[in-house]
Symmetry: C2
Subunit: 360 residues, 2 copies
């Protein structure tokens, strides 16, 4: 039996404890400094307030002050922090890591480096770990459509575990695999990380359509109550096309884009959740600043992702590494979020990198 | 100005008259023998009973008995019949076709030939036209996320016009292109036709999740009300992966699969409509026969597609042309619909044709 230490007691970090604890492994759940109330509830009531569910009977909760104790004998350290928490996590776990351990990330995101390059989070993490350990541990990640509350309910969930080191993957899969948690493995770390990071902004963009429709209906109702799913679907397809462009540019595989980490995860993210709700508010005409006030204390990963990757995208466009017409959806979304521009897309400029003749 | 004759006065055939009539072209709308009540309503009230909307002021309605008159001087004959109507349409328009005309199909589907091959509908149509004309007209089709009621409301809609003959595409696009109807062009007729045919069965399969959830909730409600979007998203991704397999096998382009005709159209088809409703009923545990009784007088294109393509898929599997493990979702869906098997997927057998290591 293995020992799995989850760092970050948010919904996703906690949800993934169910399959691995169901398999009989030792599972420790360590909150961050922002999770103290969650850990207290888990200890006193065995109840996770954000998952709204009893935690697994075998899971042992730890405060962030006990991370060193919790990490003793760990086979896998699983990072469930949000994208802003990676630097904190590197500092928290760094001193306690041992050679041969696997660090597995459910955290999604991309960062811009000072040199104007895009960096995937496992590489951000590694760069922030102590130099004497960073090359002695393995890095893995999870991609695919996995709403935390559904995994915790043991509803059918299908994901991809990914690592540059193919050797660790069968063991990692064996820890987590159950009859409701289906795991494929892949070595396309770049492809998976880009897909899972980009799905949040693109799901937010798909969500704009609902707000645009509501706004239009409020002053000019359509007699046949037509929706705007065609609008949303064009954005969905363009989001996937832009993801494919970035994945191929950075050396990932196209198959990852139309499998679970790309199309599957983008689909599930459009079916509800915070990014969609933020999209609706912006589509209704709110500025981002006003929309944030209507969703207090919520991390909108789609917004964080746009803000953290645009410096690198801008720099790469200036250097000619990214074609200036390749990412019109992302660029427009960035303007809407940061400059308060109204929600309007030049649809004719979509799909410029597919083998299609464009409109007009 | 061109003359566009739409044959088939259902929702999609009628919806596409709005952009082309907005552009000032002559537009004639010819009902089939099943559309007599629609044509009567269009003539007497200028109202389309299924679109629930006034028809375009410039559109002239015709009965199927007048198809010869309507087709005089046509530049484009647009087929809006459903997949069962292609043979009827070939007989109806065949005698009136003139060399140089373009036949454009919004009809979706695939057929099995007697030789056990899959045939796309433009080729089915051509084979059923009189021998002296079939090689003297051009064939084109439309793919992409386009809910009829939304196009008729002039909501933003993005599609691909496709033909093996690239020369006709700029002209065709110029007839239909407006500020709300965005048209890319492509010569990947095989890719587009497979995508638009397969999206209906796969959207039906995605819709099963809603019924499976409702059924489970009815006898074992989840305390945190978890949904089954992860379940649906795995099916969505597998549907796209199976589409990609078929498209590549038959010589189409992968880009078509993750663009508008594949991912975009599958997405929009999961957002409502008849295939989704049928999926929910089957997911709830109804047999197909019982489900049909709850949706009388409705054509479920997803069911028709499965039934019409499975003979060829079976034959191609027997010949080894299609790998026996390539299409587990389609094969399971066929069993559920035709043998009343319960809704249960071997998720672990999904994605066998992607470069992934499978579970277990």
């Amino acid at each position: 039996m293995a020992t799995i230490v989850v760092v970050g007691a948010g919904v996703m970090g906690t949800a993934i404890t169910y399959p691995v604890a169901d398999n009989g492994h030792t599972v420790r759940l360590v909150g961050t400094h922002l999770d103290e109330d969650i850990i207290q509830s888990c200890r006193e009531k065995r109840f996770h307030p954000r998952l709204k569910r009893a935690i697994h009977e075998a899971v042992v909760p730890y405060s962030y002050t006990e991370v060193g104790t919790a990490m003793q004998g760990a086979d896998v350290v699983l990072l469930g922090v949000n994208s802003r928490g990676v630097h904190w996590a590197a500092e928290a776990i760094g001193p306690h890591l041992k050679p041969g351990q696997i660090i597995m990330m459910v955290t999604k995101g991309l960062e811009s480096t000072d040199a104007g390059e895009l960096q995937i989070l496992p590489d951000v993490l590694a760069a922030n770990l102590p130099a004497d350990i960073r090359d002695k541990v393995d890095y893995a990640a999870v991609g695919g459509p996995s709403i935390a509350g559904e995994l915790a309910a043991r509803h059918q969930t299908s994901v991809v575990f990914v690592s540059r080191n193919a050797e660790i993957l069968p063991r990692l899969r064996s820890y987590f695999s159950t009859d409701y948690y289906h795991i494929w493995t892949s070595t396309d770390l770049i492809g998976v990380e880009i897909c899972v990071a980009m799905k949040n902004p693109y799901a937010l963009a798909v969500g704009l359509a609902a707000g645009v429709l509501e706004k239009q209906e409020s002053h000019a109702p359509d007699p046949a109550s037509a929706k705007m799913h065609n609008y949303a679907a064009a954005i969905f397809a363009q989001g996937l096309a832009e993801t494919a462009y970035l994945v191929q540019l950075l050396g990932g595989g196209l198959d990852t884009v139309f499998g679970l980490p790309g199309a599957g995860d983008l689909y599930v993210t459009t079916q509800g959740g915070r990014n969609s709700r933020m999209g609706r508010l912006i589509g209704l005409g709110r500025t981002y600043t006003d929309a944030v006030e209507e969703m207090p204390n919520e991390t909108i990963e789609g917004v964080d992702a746009v803000l953290s990757i645009m410096p690198a995208v801008d720099a790469m466009m200036k250097r000619g590494k990214i074609a200036s017409d390749a990412l019109p959806l992302l660029v427009t979304l960035h303007r809407i979020l940061t400059r308060g521009e109204s929600v309007e897309f030049a649809f004719d400029r979509f799909f410029s990198k597919l083998p299609l003749n464009p409109p007009g």
